[in-house]
């Protein structure tokens, strides 16, 4: 998924001459945590609700009441701002947010602010990608990290005439292994599981149920 598909296009922003009070009111009314500072369409800084709270006088010192109203945004904003492009991928934005320990990224195209993406938006995309769009069962397989493993697994599923709803591959629990996680459009997954085991791969879930049968026959 690209940023342009998941970004929020209706961005609340302030100018450099705005006051901290104006910015604070926007965060409260619009229920946002970040406000880009924009001058002639360009993003020149950013403010978080935490930056604004730092300016807010303590309730113990009421004599500084007008500090918020007199402080200008340009004097407290953070810069330079890390931004992304609408054609960056979802995973790029996730990596940047994670590495820089920040909460959001303004989206900039032709030097102009066109959107914003927050860590919450990225989590929502994750829910969409991995979520349950249609009825299916969970299948998880441990495979060697070598060409053809994924092909083998998907071919087995195709041969059973079963549709794959979602799929992702994660690093395995040990070196040189991978875990393939699938959601398949099937109620009865026994035929898939048996074929995968027969092809020499290790099932993580579901495990074939033979254990119980053997125990009973002991």
């Amino acid at each position: 998924m690209l940023i342009e598909e998941i970004m929020e296009k209706n961005v609340h922003f302030v100018g450099p001459e705005s006051t901290a009070l104006e910015a604070l009111l926007i965060t409260q009314e619009k229920r946002v945590r970040h406000i880009p500072v924009v001058e002639e369409g360009k993003v020149i800084g950013i403010l978080s609700d935490r930056d604004l709270r730092d300016v807010k006088p303590s309730i113990l010192s009421p004599e500084q009441d007008d500090l918020l109203a007199t402080t200008k945004v340009k004097d407290i904003m953070r810069k330079p701002v890390i931004t992304v492009h609408p054609l960056d991928a979802m995973e790029d934005a996730a990596r940047i947010i994670y590495e820089h320990k920040i909460g959001c990224l303004p989206v900039v195209q032709n030097d102009r602010l066109v959107g914003i993406i927050t860590s919450t938006d990225l989590l929502h995309s994750l829910v969409v990608v991995m979520g349950v769009a249609q009825p299916g069962s969970h299948v998880e397989i441990d495979v060697p990290d070598k060409p053809g493993a994924l092909l083998d697994i998907t071919r087995i599923i195709k041969e059973q005439g079963i549709n794959i709803i979602s799929i992702y591959v994660t690093p395995g629990k040990t070196e040189n292994r991978r875990t393939i996680v699938l959601r398949v459009g099937a109620f009865d997954t026994r035929a898939i599981v048996d074929s995968i085991v027969e092809a020499g791969y290790n099932m993580i879930f579901p495990l074939p149920k033979r254990l119980y049968e053997e125990h009973r026959n002991e």
């Binding site: 349950v132 249609q134 009825p135 299916g136 059973q160 099937a186 109620f187 149920k209 119980y212 009973r216």
Partner: protein
């Protein structure tokens, strides 16, 4: 009042069959009814044959283009491409000749059960072929072509204006019934099932609570894989009574799928017959406490048809009749079926202790289920009480 419970069954229900190797095998109905009969607790006056279901009753729940497609497919006049968008193109739920009539028999059986209760002929009815809880308004799914529970609930609403409590203890989430009545505050659906994170169909999360007017009237208790008796029973006991107390239903409908058993080949829960005694015992008590005894029990999933289904549903029928059965399975039943069975048939009605090797991670599984109970029950009772119709 001394009305006898009724069981609705005839071999006509065997026509609901997807093929010789398909896990949803009507042989399980025959095995179960035969075990009940060999125990000597099914006199002729308690056994009723299903009637068929009228099209108008079906169309109150299912969309007409979908129903007409099933009618065509039933006569072999629908291509795979036409069927696939309606959930009928897979090996799970394939179209078969005569499927419309077969499905109408299942629907008719459950509808007859509802009618018998409301017409005062029986307080408790077991529609053993029913429980097709994955059927959606316009889509077949998970071995279910249409939805008998939904058709019966809709009939009870239209004809009698009843508030219906539907409790689903099949290992799979009761998605069809839940979503058909998702906006409806007069139907409370409660489902205990293996978490959709692992098992089909994938829905049934704690956060699914209904919407609009119906918000608060869908309740889900997704259980961890490898959940055992104690934890299953704890969640059932702690949730059902307060929910019914808040909702004050007029009739109780239970879906009694028995695929949560540890021997079931298609799921990963690990309960024994103990759970299948507790479930109907509590349902029975609550039907009397809140619904003047009105209790319609349905079958459902259960794919170890030799060892699990006959015992689980015999225990259910015995509970309906207030009978405690001896633990020894009748010899006549064992003799009749052992030759055909690929596994050795159980000698006892109830599972013993230590039937299977200890479950690893039992403690954390139990703890996770407790947290699920807390999350689900949080404000569930208050929500129902503040929003229910009087």
């Amino acid at each position: 009042m001394n009305k006898l419970p009724s069981l609705i069954y005839s071999p006509a229900l065997h026509a609901y069959k997807f093929g010789p190797d398909h896990p949803f095998n009507p042989l399980r109905l025959e095995l179960t009814v035969d075990l009940i009969e060999k125990y000597g607790i099914l006199p002729a006056e308690q056994k009723f044959e299903p009637e068929t279901c009228e099209l108008e009753d079906i169309l109150m729940v299912h969309q007409s283009n979908f129903v007409h497609l099933i009618e065509k497919a039933s006569q072999g006049e629908a291509s795979k491409d036409l069927l696939r968008p309606y959930g009928l193109g897979s090996d799970d739920t394939p179209a078969f000749p005569g499927m419309f009539e077969a499905t109408k028999t299942v629907l008719g059986a459950t509808l007859l059960g509802a009618k018998m209760i409301m017409e005062g002929k029986s307080d408790h009815v077991f529609s053993i072929g029913g429980g097709l809880h994955h059927g959606h308004r316009n889509k077949a799914s998970g071995f279910c072509i249409l939805n008998d529970a939904a058709v019966a609930i809709s009939y009870l609403q239209r004809k009698y204006g009843l508030k219906v409590a539907y409790i689903d203890t099949d290992a799979h989430h009761g998605d069809g019934v839940q979503f058909i009545f998702y906006d409806d505050p007069t139907v409370l659906t409660i489902s205990l099932h293996e978490t959709g994170r692992y098992l089909f169909p994938g829905t049934g999360q704690v956060e699914e609570r209904g919407r609009f007017e119906g918000y608060g009237f869908s309740v889900n208790l997704p259980l961890e894989a490898y959940t055992e008796d104690d934890s299953f029973i704890e969640l059932y006991e702690q949730s059902i009574e307060p929910l019914l107390e808040a909702f004050q239903p007029d009739i109780l409908i239970t879906q009694n799928g028995c695929d949560a058993h540890y021997l079931d080949p298609l799921t990963h829960l690990a309960v024994t017959t103990r759970t299948f005694e507790v479930i109907p015992h509590i349902a029975h008590r609550l039907a009397h406490k809140y619904c003047q005894g009105r209790w319609l029990a349905l079958g459902g999933g259960g794919y170890d048809h030799w060892r699990v289904v006959p015992r689980a549903w015999t225990l259910l029928w015995a509970e309906m009749n207030d009978i405690t059965l001896p633990n020894e399975i009748p010899q006549e039943w064992l003799q009749r079926w052992q030759k055909q069975s690929p596994v050795s048939l159980p000698l006892y009605l109830r599972d013993g202790e230590n039937e299977f090797p200890p479950i690893p991670r039992r403690e954390i599984i139990t703890d996770k289920n407790k947290v699920t109970l807390q999350r689900t029950m949080g404000d569930a009772v208050e929500l129902i009480m503040s929003r229910r119709a009087c």
